[in-house]
Structures are given as C-alpha cells and as structure tokens.
C-alpha cells in the first residue's frame, strides 16, 4: 500500500514543481513546456486506445485537427471566448469521433489502421479545399483570445490545469472497470465476448474518449498559437503521437508524456544542428523498434518496478 501512495504522490509533486517553474522560467521556456504538455495530452489520448486498447489508429490527427479547427472557427465566427470554445469543440470532436469510430470499428487490426488513416485524410482534403469555411491551405490566422490568456505565463497555468485534469481523468478511466475491460480486449478479445462483453460499444466509447482528449489538445494548441492550418490534420501529424508513445514506452501511462517531452527536445536540439532532423527521428524509431521496443519510460519503469506501484 505504501508504494501505491508514492504513485499518487509523485505526480502531485511534479505538478507543484511545474507550478513553481511557471514563476521562475522566462517565457521562451514556458512556451516549450506548453507545447510539450499539449502534445503530451495528444499522445496520451492515443495511448488510451492504442496502448491500452490495442487499436492502432493512424488517423488520430483527425481529432486533434478537428478540435483545433472547431475552436478556431468558433473564435472567428462567434463571440465565444476560449474556454467555452474549447468545451464546445470537445463535444463536437466527440460527436465526430463517434461517427468515425462507428465506421472504422467495422474493421479490425490493420484494416482499422488504414480506415482511420483514410478518414483523417478525407478531413485533410476537406479542410484544405474549403476556403470559405476553413481558409483552405492558408488556414485560419490572427485569432484573438482574451488578453489574460495571451500572456504566456497565464496560458502556461491554464494549459497546466487543463492537461493535468485530463491526465487525471484518463488515469481514472484506465483504472476503472472500463479501463481494465479495454486491457482485456487488447489481450484477448474473443475471451471477453464469452464473458458477455459488448466489444463494439466498449471500443467505440474508448475511441470517443480518445477523440475528445485529442480535441482538447487541438483546442489548447489554437489558444497557444492563435491559428489553425491543414498540417494539423495531416497524416504526418497522426504519426507524431504514435512516435511519442513508442519513444516513451507503449503500455505505460507516463510513457506518452515522456515521449512528447523527448520529441519536442529532439526536434529543437537536432533541428538546430541540421535541417535533416526527420532523418534522425526515423533512425531513432528504427533503433527503438529493433532494440528497445518498450520505450524509454518502459525501460525506466522496469528498473523502478520494485519501488513504484504497478502502473500498467
């Protein structure tokens, strides 16, 4: 039981640490942490279905982008301020996720991966072409949010609170009977059917959750960058959370966040040295997949296992 307490205590300590960082770090670094947190949430939302549910989605950017565009359009066309816009955007993304999920979950495994990718690309084309509504390839620029939110330090705290809450919510979901049913489905779907599980609904609801959290991340991104553009929906954006989850460690909770942090750092550091940072990203993934399939955090967790509560 003692180890369990450490499991809840450490994240809180980490939050306090981040809170204090907000007081001392210059805006430049706060912006980096904001980006890490948003991408961390994006990655975690995918981890929910991919890591725990075994559903490989190659179109998760559809929901990140949908959330981003929903918030951007709400900010542009209605008098809504950021917080209600994000809330509305989240609900809309959930509805969109329900439709996409209902279509894609008619197929399984690799077919599911291809269908998710195909549908996200459909959204990309739509966003790219529909100048009147989405700004086409230019995207939507120059959005205004309240002056309070424009201040990087304030926005830092806002993102910290939202992402923190979402992580907590995802944690609760994963530790619930629903979350364990998801793991059971990943392990052995056939068996759960004979236990009386409604597999399709179970997966669809998980998919909608994942879509909504990705939508929140997308909305937070618009609040940070004050714009939305088609690349947010593109297939390369769908690959990012997958890479982060693998980088950090699939089948671990904190791996998604660790992966996002490493991803942003790598992009900055390598991107500064060479324009070919994607080459190194690709090479890194190959090495990880070949030799360290459990990811960085997965490796750390293995070493720390005796000291921490079981986090699977």
């Amino acid at each position: 039981m003692k180890s369990n307490r450490i499991g809840t205590f450490l994240p809180l300590l980490f939050l306090v640490f981040l809170f204090l960082l907000g007081q001392i770090l210059p805006n430049f670094y706060l912006r980096i942490i904001i980006e890490m947190a948003i991408l961390g949430l994006f990655a975690q939302s995918l981890n929910l279905i991919m890591g725990y549910g075994g559903m490989i989605s190659f179109g998760h950017a559809a929901f990140y982008g949908f959330g981003a565009y929903a918030v951007a359009i709400l900010l542009r066309d209605t008098g809504m301020s950021l917080v209600p816009a994000i809330l509305t955007g989240t609900v809309l993304t959930g509805v969109f996720g329900f439709i996409v999920g209902a279509i894609c979950l008619r197929a399984a495994k690799l077919y599911f991966a291809i269908l998710t990718m195909a549908i996200s690309q459909l959204l990309f084309v739509l966003v790219y072409q529909w100048y009147a509504f989405t700004g086409g390839d230019n995207g939507i620029h120059g959005l205004t949010v309240s002056p309070w939110m424009t201040d990087p330090q304030h926005y830092y705290y806002f993102v910290l609170a939202v992402v923190g809450l979402c992580f907590f919510a995802i944690r609760v979901i994963l530790n619930s009977p629903f979350g364990y049913t998801l793991r059971a489905l990943r392990d052995n779907q056939e068996r759960t059917v004979f236990l009386g599980a409604y597999v399709w609904w179970q997966k669809l609801i998980a998919f909608v959750f994942a879509a909504m959290f990705a939508g929140i991340a997308g909305g937070l991104y618009v609040g940070y960058d004050h714009m939305a553009y088609p690349l947010l929906v593109n297939w390369s954006k769908s690959a990012e959370p997958i890479l982060m989850v693998i980088l950090g460690g699939i089948n671990t909770f904190w791996g998604a966040l660790v992966g996002a942090v490493l991803f942003v750092i790598m992009e900055m550091v390598i991107g500064k040295i060479t324009t070919y940072w994607l080459f190194f990203l690709g090479a890194t993934i190959l090495i990880l997949v070949m030799f360290f399939p459990k990811g960085i955090w997965g490796y750390v967790e293995e070493k720390l296992a005796p000291f921490l509560a079981r986090e699977r």
């Binding site: 690309q121 084309v125 790219y128 072409q129 080459f279 690709g282 190959l286």
Partner: protein, 293 residues
Amino acid sequence: MEFSDILDIIVGGLTSGMLLFMVAAGLTLVFGVLRIINFSHGAIYMLAAYISYSVMALFGNAPNTYWMALLIAPIAVAVLGALIEVFLLRPMYNREHLMQLLVTYALVLVIVDATKFLWGPDPKMVLLPDILSGRIAILGATFSVYSLVLILIGFLTMAGLWLFLNKTKLGHIIRAGAFDPEMTEALGINLKFIYTFIFSLGAWMAGLAGVLIAPLTTVSQGMDSSVLLDAFAVVVIGGMGSIGGAFLASILVGLGNSFGLLWIAGIAIAFTFIVMAVVLVVRPWGLFGRPIK
C-alpha cells in the same frame, strides 16, 4: 462538347488512373501477401524518380538516356526493397502490427530526408525520349504518344500480374502463402524468399511508376506523400489486398477526376476521397475486398 473533347478527357483520366494503379498495385500486393502496410512505398517511388534523373545526367542527359533510367532506377529500388525486407521487416514478422507500421513509417522519414540531402530541394527535370514525345491523331483528336503508352503499360501491368498470380507456379505459391502462411510453410515452401521477392517486386513497381511519371511533372520533394495517399485511397476503395479492385478503382478515380474537373475546379483531390468516403460507409472492406473481422 465535341466527341474528340470527350475522348481527350477519357485519355487524360485513364493516364492518371494508370499511373495511380502502378503505385497502388505494389502497395496492395505487399499488403495482400505480407500483411504489411508499406508507408515507404511513396518514398521509394520518389527515390526512383530521383535516381532516374541522376542516371540520365550520368549518361549525358540526352532524352534517349531515359531508356537507361527506366531500366536501372526500378531495379535499384528493387534491390533496396529486398534489403529493407531482409534486414528491417523480417525481424518484425513475429512482433505486433504496430512495430511493422513504425518501421515502414520510419523509412519514409529516412528516405525522404536522404533524397533531400542527396538531390537538394530544387525540382529536377526528366526529359522524354523522342519517340514518346510526339502527338498522334486518332478519331479527330490528338493525343500525346506518351499518354497512350502509359495507358498501355497500366493494362499490361494488370494483365501481367494476373497471369503471374493465377497461371504460374510461383503465383500459386504466393496466393497460398497469402491465404494461409502456416499451412504453406508446413508444405515445405520457403516463405522468407516469397516475402523478400514480393516486397522487392512492390518496390520495383513503385520505382517504375516513379520513373514513368517523372517526365510528366518534375521530380520534387512532396511527390511521395501525395501519390501515397491517393494510392491508399484507391487501395481502400478497391478492397485491401485486391489487385483487380485497385485496377478498377484507379480507372474510376482517374476518369472521375478528369470529368469532375469539367464542372468543379479543384475537385481533383477531393473526388478520390469522396468516393472513398462513400465506399467506406457502404462497404468498409472495399469494392472487391472481403469483410475481415
């Protein structure tokens, strides 16, 4: 609208459809046999186009050196494909699907950046040989010879693949391997070789398509992802793993795009995906695929 105009549109649509099919066929073949989604297919296609440029430059850049490029570049990427299969994919067959996807995706990043490093960001021109660059008149309309040749190649590819898979011994083995790998192995057939061969063949086809399209456009960064996504759409429409499905879907998409352009400018990219959306809702496993749960 004159009859010759319609003919013109049909030929234009079939040309782009066949080029798409050349890419999609390799993609769907690899998926059907290896059960691997090869994201790097587009990157290999682009790489071959760049190689064809260099081959021609090496031989003095005369238009007729295109034939050399057409021979060498696809073989070069086929060799690369075999190496990829042996060293990167083979260790992955016992692992989760996700790991296989990641390998082919990582290859996209590596290959694309490598082409950028080797050939630079500027577009490269590839010239057509004299024989192919003319135009001929048929039924009152004039067509570029190259368009007609491309359509012919597309149909020949389809016919060739069909004959290969249905009428040769190796083809039967490949289909058996795709249907039931364990049983086929148990019959003493070396699937390792089959897998390497198919992946290499897929790469060769991607390479051929890359070299064939090079003279029509320019060889440039970004040509990989646009063709890959269109090819995926075609594969999804036709039914994953179905070559015949990919063929018909390519024609459908090619013709649809060229006729669609008459009414709505800019529909070109969207049309493919609109068809795909309809197919996904009605038959998620594609026109010629089988539902797999």
